[in-house]
Every structure is written in structure tokens, then in C-alpha cells.
Amino acid sequence: MTRPMTKTINVPVADGEGDRYTVKMGPQHPATHGVLRVDLELDGETILKCTPHVGYLHRGFDKIAEHRTYAQSLILSDRLDYIAAMANNVGYCVAVEKLLGVSVPLRAKYLRTMVCEMSRIASHLLWLATHALDIGAMTVFLYCFREREVLLELFEELCGARLTFSYPRIGGVRQDVTRHFIDKLQRFINEFPGNLEEYETLIDTNRIWLKRTVGIGVLSGQEALDLGLTGACLRGSGIDYDIRKHRPYDAYDLVDFEVPLGADGDIYARYRCRMEEFTQSNRILQQCIDQLPPGPIIGEDAPDLVMSLQGSRKVEVDSSRYGTGLVRLLEESGEYPAGDIYVSTEVPKGELGFYFISDGSGKPYRMHIRSPSFIHIGALPALVEGDLIADLIANIGTLDVVLGECDR
């Protein structure tokens, strides 16, 4: 009874040279944060070559936007980085406002800054949760979700949505905040430093955490610039580039905050940077509450529809064509300035840029989204080649990518 055991086994047999073999990680792998596929060429556990494949979530936003009015495309920005949709909304609105020359009232600016920072905290919480889980620290994951839940509830109270907000409008925001909202946010701000301490107790000086993060995935400042990294990934390498400081938008030039910088450019430095950003965002939130001025929440010259609040200006309800209750925007050609513009904002992941070309019609002639995640995944091979599989996971975590934003 000798059954040839090796008959069907072809796993370890080299499909490259020598002992090399390839592993296709993803797109349904638990640690690839969505639908990223990474083709790895391995020698034992050492990564010789890493080729990321993206596009599984490509929806063609650039093309869709060309066929919609500026106000209609706002909802596309929700679907970019769905972890921090609010920051994307604000980024989109800031870009369109600059293009169309729309002014924003001060109160709306403060409100936007506030929701941006809330969304930064929410996004960083999810980053910390998944990053820690990737490295194996399970409890941090659930602790982070506890706080994220509070923020999502706040968002829900503010605009009725928990994931795709579309709260900012071109020229302002949709709804004003209530007293209850402010109180609840104040409570969050007061409690958050304590919670932060809790996460830090779990991992900050944990030996294993340090072993897994210090000196892994090192990028010098020059290398990080070269790869086009932005956000905490660039600042972790010691380059002081934060769009909130460099090209302030909304109320960022009116609030006081610091930009935390790392020095070593490894995973731990990036981790520390983001942990410091928690504190700074919390500070900004506090200032927004304290300084929030009274006044209108949407500009007089806002070109877009503001349902129910601002009446039916420029809005036509055409129930025969679109079904009851749906609202169609009138196209206004010849009214908008023509030209091109690139405006970027500091979203939690990095620099989110919108490049618009307007030909004077009510729709953008071309919209291009520069998404940080796209560039960051492109930098993955530079980070991991020569390291072990376990480091790949840690590196994907530290880049903080969202595939919805990467693939657009």
C-alpha cells in the first residue's frame, strides 16, 4: 500500500528560480484593508519582489464627474475615503469654491474645521485599530471602535448619516449644530485624552510592539518625498509638510495647533506622529467650540442647491422625469469662470488634491483626484522588499490606505 504522497503536491516547487515561489495575497486577505492584491515573490519568508495590484474598486469618478454638475459630484467625494468622508467632502468643497470664487461665512468655516478634525480622529482611530490588529494586538481594536462610535453618533446627529455624510456644501455647510451636539462633543473632547492614554498603555512601550515597529519600513525624508508620500508618512520622516499650515483653508489659520514630526522614518515614528495628531486634533476641536462665531452657515452666492433651507433657488423639481421628490439641478452655462485649478487639503491619509478644469459650463471639463492612498500603495514595494511577510502587513497598516480612495 504505497501511495505516492508527492503526486499531487506542487506547492513548494519553485515557479521562479531556485527556492523562490510566489504568493498572491489578496484581494480577499484579512490584512489588506479592502481589496488590495499584492503579488509576492518569496524566498522562505523574505520578500524578494512585491507587486501591488489595485483597481478592484475602480468606479471611474473622473469620468462620472464630467457629466454632472459641481454640486452633484459632491457625493462622489464621500465614496473616496469612506473612513473619513467628511474630510473628503470638505476637500471637494474647498476646491470648487476656489474654482468658482465662492465665499464661505466664518461660522461655516469653523464648523467645517470642526468636522474635519472629528473625521481625522475617527479615521486615525480606525487606523490605530487595524494597525494594531494587524500586528496582533486585538484589544486596541475594540477600544478604538468604542470612541469611533461616539464620533459616528455625533455625525449622525449632525447630518443624519454615519458613513457618507455630504454635510459640507459648496459655500458653506448644510445644517447648523445644536446645543446638544456641542455638549456631546465637549464631553468627548474632555474624555478623549484619557482614552488615548489607555491605548498608549497597551502598546506604546510594549516590547513586542517596539520590536515589530522600530527600525522597520524605514524611509529617509528624501526617499519619502521622492515617493510622493504625504501626511503622517512624510512627517514621520521628519519633513514638515502639512497643508493645514502651508496653504491654510477654512479656519485652520485661525486656530492654534502644532504639526508633530518624527525623526526616524520607521513605523514607530509614523505611529507616534499619528498619536500626537490625536492630541492636536482634540485641541483644534476645543478651539472650534470656544471660538465658534454666530452668523449664517452658507454663503449668499452659493451656487448650489440647499434643500429646504434656502428655498428653491436654482432648483427645479421635475417629478415626471426623476420620480417624486427628486431634485434636478439646472445647468447654468456661461456663468462660471473658465480655467484650471489644483487645490489640495490635508485629509487624515495625506494630501487629497482636486484638479479641476472648468470650461465655463456648469460641469467640470475634467476632474482629477490626487488621492494619497494611491500614491502610498505605489510606495509599498520600496518599503517592504527585503523584509519578511510579517513586515509587509505592518507596512500596509502604517501607510494607512483606503482602497476606495486609491481606486476612485
Partner: protein, 198 residues
């Protein structure tokens, strides 16, 4: 330094190459020929008083329906920023329709790699000297370049991968598997099959 001044400096340095300078909402774009794009960007990056070290964005544009007369069919737009000196500029390299290609700038910024692949994928502009110019967002066997103006918003036909999947679903349908998936297309497919037979 003001963006306009950067543009002037660029015009002085590469007077042959610079075609036009345009200013819109405080942002300055320089329209240039494509031939010396790498040298220009290198000069912008390495000059000690400009130091445009951050490539913010790179994308392709189809100028087919644009009113401006002096533009070629395509252009590649480079948005540069100087982190130490805090000024920015936009370079718009003109690319003709009959030969849509530009020299790659991956030699200057490795991060331009994926930008250029995206531009190639969606706009069909190829980059000479790019180390790995493949489609990135769309499947490898995709036909056409969706961001060109003549490409319809809704595709002419289904992507071959989806057609294959639908065929598979029909196949599985015989064995009472795949019942829930793609019921509608499955019905359509079997319909067309019947037509073929007759």
C-alpha cells in the same frame, strides 16, 4: 516666491519651450512643449532658489472640446510644490494626437510611477522610458481609454471578464448551482443562445 515669478524664471531659462503662461484664481500654469519636460522639471526641482521638491499631482487631460485654440489634443499636467519655500506652479506639457507620448519623470520622482501608469491607463498617453507601463486601474484586457472625450459614459459592450462570468453562471445554472447570482443576465444569455441555434 510668487508663482508668477517662478513662471517668468522658467520662461527665461527655457524660452524656446514655454508657449504661454496663464493665471487663474492666483494659480499659475505654464504651457510648454513636451520635448524638454524632464530637463525643465529637473531644473525646477534642483535650482537652489526654486526647490520644487514635491510632485503634488500628475494627470492627463484631453483637450478635444476645449475652446482655447493654441492647445494640442492632449496635455500632461504636472503640479509642483516647494515644501521649503512654499510656492507652487503648474506645468502643462502639450502632447499631439498622432503621437501621444511624453518622457517619463520617474527618474526624478519614483512616486510618479503610478501617476504615469494611471495616465496611460485612462488617457492613453504613453511615457517613454517608464519602467513598467501597464494598465493599473482597469483590467489588462480592457479596450480603449475611458477619459478620452470620445469614450462614451456608458460602455458600448460588456467587459469580456463579465461576459465570461455570466457564461459561467449559465453553465452552473444547469446544475442548479449559481441560482441566486446573475439571474437576469443568465436569462438573457440563454435567450441569445437559443437564437444562435435557430
Amino acid at each position: 516666491m510668487e508663482s508668477m515669478e517662478v513662471a517668468r524664471r522658467l520662461q527665461e531659462q527655457f524660452s524656446e519651450e514655454v508657449l504661454d503662461i496663464c493665471d487663474f484664481q492666483g494659480q499659475v500654469g505654464v504651457i510648454v512643449k513636451r520635448d524638454k519636460i524632464v530637463e525643465m522639471l529637473r531644473w525646477l526641482r534642483d535650482s537652489s532658489d526654486l526647490r520644487m521638491d514635491h510632485l503634488m499631482d500628475l494627470c492627463g487631460v484631453d483637450n478635444k472640446n476645449r475652446p482655447e485654440a493654441n492647445l494640442q489634443r492632449f496635455e500632461v499636467v504636472y503640479n509642483l510644490y516647494s515644501i521649503p519655500l512654499r510656492h507652487s506652479i503648474r506645468i502643462r506639457a502639450q502632447v499631439p494626437e498622432n503621437d501621444p507620448c511624453v518622457d517619463t519623470i520617474t527618474t526624478l520622482w519614483t512616486g510618479a510611477d503610478w501617476h504615469e501608469r494611471e495616465c496611460f491607463d485612462l488617457m492613453g498617453i504613453s511615457f517613454t522610458g517608464h519602467p513598467d507601463l501597464r494598465r493599473i486601474l482597469l483590467p489588462d484586457d480592457w479596450q480603449g481609454h475611458p477619459l478620452r472625450k470620445e469614450y462614451p459614459l456608458k460602455g458600448r459592450e460588456e467587459w469580456s471578464g463579465l461576459v465570461e462570468l455570466q457564461r459561467k453562471a449559465v453553465e452552473l445554472h444547469q446544475f442548479d448551482l449559481g441560482k441566486g447570482i446573475l439571474r437576469q443576465p443568465a436569462a438573457e444569455q440563454s435567450h441569445t443562445k437559443g437564437n444562435d441555434k435557430s
